[in-house]
């Protein structure tokens, strides 16, 4: 369990949120021109690294807004929280 600082509502418990997987995956511009392998790569393949990961979260039981967080999967430390469409503050 950890606290997440929602960019709209402030600090809330993790149980109010739902995780939405990896962030910053760009949808291919011409999906029809892709091979099945490339399309599957986009649809299903996600990183699951031990370390700092960029993720999308949704404040499902609060303001119902999506946003991004940078989380360390080793200790659940949150390094940054930023709104959708913004560039990650750290690399």
């Amino acid at each position: 369990m950890f606290l997440i600082n929602c960019p709209y509502c402030g600090e809330r418990d993790q149980s109010e949120f739902s995780a939405g997987g990896e962030a910053h995956i760009v949808r291919p511009k011409q999906p029809t021109e892709l091979s099945d392998d490339q399309w599957a790569e986009f649809l299903f393949m996600r990183k699951n690294i031990k370390g700092i990961q960029f993720e999308r979260w949704n404040h499902a039981h609060g303001c119902r807004k999506w946003f991004n967080i940078v989380r360390d999967t080793r200790n659940d430390k949150i390094h940054a929280v930023y709104k959708m469409g913004e560039k990650p503050p750290i690399k």
Partner: protein, 187 residues
Amino acid sequence: MLNYKSSINETKKYSEINMSEFEPVVKINLRGKKRDFITKIGKSLSIIIPTEPNTSSSNENLNILWLSPDEWMLYTNEKVHKLENNYNLEEKLFSEISKVNLGSVTNVSDHWSIINIRGKNTYELLSSGCPFNFNKFKNTKGAVTQTILNHVDVIIHNKDINEINLFVRRSFSKHLWSWMNDSARFL
């Protein structure tokens, strides 16, 4: 107002806590992003729409709660007649907002039940099933939060010191009401 049998039809009293249903009132959900939307509502209802997160504003008849950067909940203090289905407020807002594409106006009167809780132990009761930190909320009159209480989605509006209005979806109200009664016995 739907003609339904409310599961909450009595006032319950426990040590330093009173709970009752805040009888049927009009609740309207407002959504819009344009600046015109905010000024238009402010003018037509003579109330300021709160743009600060987790706040609300009230006048004699109306309360407006911040739910999200583009979503608000409006509710009246005046009760509606249970068998009546006329919502002047909704019609007025609908013609001023929705019809000119400024935003959306949805009548959610039958969607939410409101439970009024007052007494010194109000926050003790909430804290027994809620992950939200009430320390600051307690002392801020008009504060609003959406959170979960015993796994049920609720909106909590701080009406006055040790008095709150708790919004819960009607289909969950019976469950939450019995949980609250059970929990309040042990305070």
